[in-house]
């Protein structure tokens, strides 16, 4: 199996002319737990968007699961197998109730209603969200929203996670719950964070993204 994500010679700039990447190389192997740091505006989130096909590169190659990904159809398979957790949970949760939101992905993947319900139950159990299923999303607390957002990604059963500052703004208890989930159930992921505690706990290798290049980083 080997390399899950392999990026070669990637260039990307925003339409306002700001060049973010110029010949970026990066790869992620199965079973790797990678931390990604870097100054604000370095392009960490953009890199995730490029991997998921939400943005398209100017040049370079993005291979995910061993195949080059170029068009919408290539990326729709990537999106089923890679789970992206957004920085702002408010963006990720758009259904009215917790249950609907967690079931949204599985139903899109073609699961039946009873199967989707089973996925919701199992996911809530794993994340300790039992009892929240029928709650209305916009009345959840910030920490609950983040865990539910993670649940919506987990419900797709991804082979790899891209986590964009997942613990920013969480209290230590919720952070611990989050990390515990990662330890127990996630073996391959890239986690963007500024929190050194989280990096120590959740990442085997750390990279820094700075001025369009990715380099090994040590705490």
């Amino acid at each position: 199996m080997g390399q899950l994500i392999n990026i070669r010679n990637l260039s990307f700039g925003y339409s306002n002319g700001r060049k973010l990447f110029n010949g970026l190389d990066f790869s992620l192997e199965k079973g790797e737990r990678v931390g990604l740091v870097g100054p604000n505006g370095a392009g960490k989130t953009t890199l995730f968007y490029l991997i998921m096909g939400l943005l398209r590169p100017e040049s370079g190659e993005i291979r995910v699961f061993g195949r080059p990904r170029e068009n919408e159809r290539d990326f729709s398979e990537v999106r089923q197998r890679v789970g992206l957790l957004f920085q702002d949970s408010e963006d990720q949760l758009f259904c009215p109730t917790v249950e609907e939101d967690i079931a949204f992905g599985p139903l899109n993947l073609g699961l039946s209603h009873s199967e989707a319900r089973a996925v919701v139950r199992e996911t809530c159990k794993r994340l300790g969200l039992n009892g929240l299923e029928k709650r209305v999303i916009h009345r959840l607390s910030g920490g609950e929203k983040r865990l539910v957002a993670l649940a919506t990604v987990v419900a797709m059963n991804p082979e790899c996670y891209l986590l964009d500052e997942p613990t920013a703004g969480l209290d230590s208890r919720t952070t611990e719950r989050f990390l515990r989930y990662l330890r127990e159930y996630a073996d391959t992921y890239i986690i963007i964070t500024h929190n050194h505690e989280v990096l120590k706990n959740a990442a085997d290798r750390i990279y820094e993204l700075r001025e369009g290049r990715i380099e090994p980083f040590s705490l």
């Binding site: 968007y49 998921m52 939400l54 729709s76 999106r79 089923q80 789970g83 992206l84 957004f86 702002d88 408010e90 963006d91 990720q92 758009f94 259904c95 009215p96 109730t97 249950e99 609907e100 079931a103 949204f104 992905g105 139903l107 899109n108 993947l109 209603h113 989707a116 319900r117 209305v136 999303i137 916009h138 919506t152 990604v153 797709m156």
Partner: protein, 251 residues
Amino acid sequence: MHLEEFAEGESFFHRLDPRVKLLTLGPYTAVIAVAHDPVVPLAALVLSSVMAVVAGLDRKKLLNRLAAVNIFVLMLWLFIPFGYPGEELFFAAGPLTVTKEGIVYVLTITMKTNAIVVATIAMLGTSEIFSLAHAFVHLKAPGKLVHLFFFFYRYISVLHEEYSRLRRAMKMRSFRPRTNMHTYKSYAWLVGMLLVSSYERSRRIYNAMLCRGFSGRFPVIDHFSLRKHDIIFGVLMSTVTITFVIILTLS
């Protein structure tokens, strides 16, 4: 911001299938709206009030909402009774006379308005907005309209929060609205910021939906099932509506 203040509860109306509510409310309000004599509106007002009692609506909140509607009705009371052609009741001032027909006409409008608003709150207000959206899907309403309705509800409180945050930020720096260019400009910026940030938010939400396999169709997890009391209510409401139609055609 609380948009569903009537939706919490356990009354008969809270348990009713929202599809039945939507299907029966439409014709009921239509008949009331086209009625031209006071009999049907009066009967409807009584019936709607009974619904409000059965639904256990909070009296104060209900009166609050009715007050908002009746401000418009009050305007009609200020103009229509005077000079409406008909039997003169008493002389007001100059050429203005209050006629019996005028009074009856405004009274009819008042009863119609209140009957319709009370019935709508008792029937639709007691369902959560999302179950109404579901019901629309099941009733084959156009998908885009249902999405619009539902996203509007899901994000209006987020928008309102964003608005309050900007307002607070302005207040923090001693902004006090006055009648001057500075105030207008600041409000224009506030509205502009809201537009830009909601546009960007909508793009992020769309991305999030793409990431979870969205392909233009919203899957629905809960399904409604008609129960006995839904059918009984449907039959009752239809009977009432048909009776109203008969009264209207006979008179």
